[in-house]
């Protein structure tokens, strides 16, 4: 059962991710990214992370991606132009990526081959309650700091965007 869902959503996620990269038009990319995020939310759920799965859908797929799409619309961004370029990126990019990926997979399969299998319901510590307890006790300070961070981000974004009006 798990294997089925895993494979299904993994393939969807991968396909969407590839689509993000391959699509010429940013709108298509953005929509594909939403697909990735939703698939990942399902996978989170399977891993027992209920709260995070919800947050993933609401924050990411909902808020952040909407922002992206707004900007794309606002700028009326078309297909990308092929001007300029980096020789480094073109020559070394693909080999470096392959090496990176291979090394990563090698490490994972070498050092974590025998990790426990994931069964739905194995781990139930990822509910809103548990996370809330943690956030407001041991992680209180970072949590508050994130609020400040967001405030700063808001101010920063406004300041930056305001320039357009001048």
């Amino acid at each position: 059962m798990e294997i089925f869902f895993f494979l299904l959503f993994a393939i969807v996620a991968l396909a969407c991710a590839l689509n993000v990269v391959l699509q010429k038009h940013p709108i298509s990319s953005a929509l594909s990214l939403v697909g990735v995020m939703v698939s990942l939310a399902v996978l989170y759920l399977m891993l027992g992370a209920e709260f995070i799965a919800m947050a993933q859908v609401v924050v990411y797929a909902g808020a952040v991606m909407v922002l992206f799409i707004f900007v794309i619309m606002l700028l009326n961004a078309g297909a990308e132009t092929r001007k300029g370029g980096s020789i480094t990126a073109q020559v070394l990019g693909i080999p470096a990526l392959l090496a990176f990926f291979a090394a990563l997979v090698f490490l994972i399969t070498t050092y974590y081959p025998g990790l426990s299998p994931v069964k739905f319901g194995d781990f139930t510590g990822g509910g809103a309650r548990e996370i809330g307890m943690k956030l407001f006790s041991s992680y209180l300070l970072p949590f508050e700091v994130t609020s400040v961070l967001i405030l700063i981000a808001i101010v920063g974004a406004i300041v930056l965007a305001r320039k357009e009006l001048d």
Binding site: S86, I87, T88, A89, G93, F106, T110
Partner: protein, 619 residues
């Protein structure tokens, strides 16, 4: 305690007063300060000498420690013994006369106060030199008089030739000081002290090679200060200074410091026959060489300058053949008659309104009778006319030279003849014949003629009044035993008279002849007239290569291209490396990202290779 420090302190005080306040003081005050400080010093010298019980054993007076470092300990110590006493009398006595003379001679000069300040400073250093009880303190005076010489030669500082001469004097003297300094290092290493009494007590037991080295190094210093070959070149140029300076510093006192130093270090010299021979040879060579040059000079001061060099050569000859007291005797008598010659020359120049070329003089005996008479006394003395002062001292040296090596006697006596000739040549050219210059020559004021008369008396009678060898007695351990050979005396007197006679014949009787002789000699005359081109030789072989080599090779070449070139090369290469690396910093985000990925890949591969050690796997 005899409070010897008062002797140099008085001129020092005079220097400070004149140096600091002199500009604002009236001339009378300046000259009073300057003259009084030296005269009082002279008086105090007389007082000290009369009150001293015995001068055989010097009593060292210690004032304070000057330099103390480990075993090296040098104090401000003064002492008086017979040699010092004689030097003190000469320096303060002649110094006083010349100070008085200068008040007249310099009366109309700009920078009157400056002149006297320098002169007083000179007295301080010179007295310090002769009073010192250790080599380092001698060195203080030694360098100090060099400084004053520099300042006074360059007294007319707007004249390039004067400042050049000053620099030359200082630098050539520095070469001599180099020798003295090295001698002191060697003395300290050998004797563990620079105090005279310790050094001289220990000297007999030390190896001859060391003593010879010390003596030769001292000789280098003495040759610098006393204008001996090959370092004599500064003295003729030093005549750029005012004439009293030439008389005091470059005839009577400072230039004899070299002789004093050798006499003072006699204990070291006598233990080193090789050094003694070198001293004698240098002295003799200088005497001949300078006398030859003196034959053909037309500037009255230059003539006397070369004669000074030549006479100093005599003194060195005396010291070198072991007749220290004869050398010192000649030092004293020379101080009398040479100071007189210069002061007389000053008077002549004064009379001729600053003219120094003898060809523009003549017939001055009518206009300046006192100068004429006194200068005559000096000329007699330097020619070794019987019973004048020069006769005694020169005779003593010649006798000793004969005892040492007869050929030295013959060379020296021939030189004496030449000396008589060129001095009297100058005398005749100046005072006889018709006046060839411009303006009306006049006699000098009393302040100038007074000292001349006193010095004339000393030049005539100084020889038997101050029988230096008798006074010094057993001061020097080894004295050359010269047989009292009357024959030698006759020979030297004969040569002297012949020189005078020749001069009389050539410059009074038949005054057209010298030019004919000169033109018939041709190249030889040119050579002598131009002082054997020694200055030019030094310029081409030493000065120019040093300056040009430093400029072209060292500074523009090695400094700029090699040493700094390497430094700049390193800097430029660092820039080149940066130039390669800066392409990484393209500003292109994608290329940055690629580098990040590459870095990540490398890191991961390293993790794999390193067995993931740092992460430790899972728990």
């Amino acid at each position: 305690m005899q409070n010897l420090w008062i002797i140099p302190a008085l001129p020092l005080l005079g220097f400070l007063v004149n140096g600091i306040f002199g500009r604002k003081m009236p001339k009378l005050m300046v000259s009073l300060t300057a003259v009084l400080s030296v005269v009082l010093s002279f008086a105090y010298v007389l007082f000290v000498l009369s009150s001293a019980k015995s001068l055989d054993q010097p009593a060292v007076e210690h004032y304070f420690t000057w330099i103390q470092s480990g075993a090296f300990n040098v104090g401000f110590d003064y002492q008086v013994d017979k040699l010092t006493a004689i030097m003190l009398l000469v320096v303060t006595g002649i110094g006083s006369l010349i100070h008085i003379y200068s008040t007249g001679y310099m009366a109309h000069e700009e920078g009157y106060w400056r002149f006297f300040a320098y002169l007083n400073l000179f007295m301080f250093f010179m007295l310090n030199l002769v009073l010192a009880a250790n080599y380092l303190l001698v060195f203080v005076g030694w360098e100090g008089v060099g400084l004053c010489s520099y300042l006074l030669i360059g007294f007319y500082f707007t004249k390039k030739s004067a400042t050049d001469a000053g620099n030359k004097a200082f630098i050539v003297n520095r070469i001599g000081d180099f020798g003295v300094a090295l001698a002191m290092f060697l003395i300290f290493i050998t004797f563990k002290s620079l105090d005279f009494h310790k050094v001289f007590a220990l000297a007999p037991g030390k190896p001859v090679a060391t003593l010879t080295a010390i003596a030769l190094l001292l000789l280098v210093g003495a040759a610098g200060k006393s204008a001996q070959l090959p370092l004599y070149v500064w003295l003729p140029d030093a005549m750029e200074g005012p004439t009293p300076v030439s008389a005091l510093i470059h005839a009577a006192t400072m230039v004899t410091a070299g002789v004093y130093l050798c006499a003072r270090s006699s204990v070291i010299f006598v233990h080193s026959p090789a050094a003694m021979d070198t001293v004698a040879m240098v002295g003799l060579a200088t005497a001949v060489f300078a006398a030859v040059i003196g034959l053909a000079q037309n500037d009255i001061k230059k003539v006397f300058a070369y004669s000074t060099v030549s006479q100093l050569g005599y003194m060195f000859l005396g010291v070198g053949v072991g007749a220290f007291s004869a050398g010192v005797w000649h030092l004293v008598t020379h101080a009398f008659f040479k100071a007189l010659l210069f002061l007389g020359a000053g008077s002549v120049i004064h009379a001729c309104h600053g003219e120094q070329d003898m060809r523009q003089m003549g017939g001055l005996r009518k206009y300046a009778p006192v100068t004429f008479a006194t200068l005559g006394c000096a000329s007699l003395a330097i020619a070794g006319f019987p019973f004048t002062s020069g006769f005694y001292s020169k005779d003593a040296i010649l006798v000793a030279a004969h005892a040492h090596a007869p050929w030295m006697f013959w060379v020296a006596v021939f030189t004496a003849g030449m000396t008589a000739f060129y001095v009297w040549r100058a005398y005749f050219m100046t005072f006889f014949g018709k006046y060839r210059g411009h303006g009306h020559p006049h006699e000098s004021p009393v302040s100038m003629t007074g000292p001349l008369v006193i010095l004339a008396a000393l030049s005539l009678a100084g020889g038997f009044l101050f029988n230096v060898p008798e006074i010094l007695g057993k001061m020097f351990q080894v004295e050359a035993e010269g047989a009292e050979a009357a024959t030698l005396t006759y020979i030297s007197v004969a040569f002297g008279l012949a020189g005078i006679g020749l001069a009389y014949f050539l410059y009074v009787v038949n005054s057209a002849l010298p030019d004919k002789i000169a033109s018939s000699l041709g190249g030889l005359y040119t050579l002598v007239y131009n002082k054997f081109f020694v200055d030019e030789l030094y310029d081409v072989t030493v000065v120019q290569p040093t300056v040009n080599g430093s400029r072209t090779l060292l500074w523009r070449g090695i400094e700029h291209y090699v040493i700094d070139g390497v430094v700049r090369g390193v800097g430029a290469n660092a820039l080149n490396i940066g130039g390669v690396l800066k392409h990484l910093q393209s500003g292109n985000i994608r290329s940055y990202a690629t580098w990040v990925v590459i870095g990540g890949a490398v890191l991961l591969i390293l993790m794999g290779v390193g067995g993931f050690a740092f992460a430790g796997g899972v728990r």
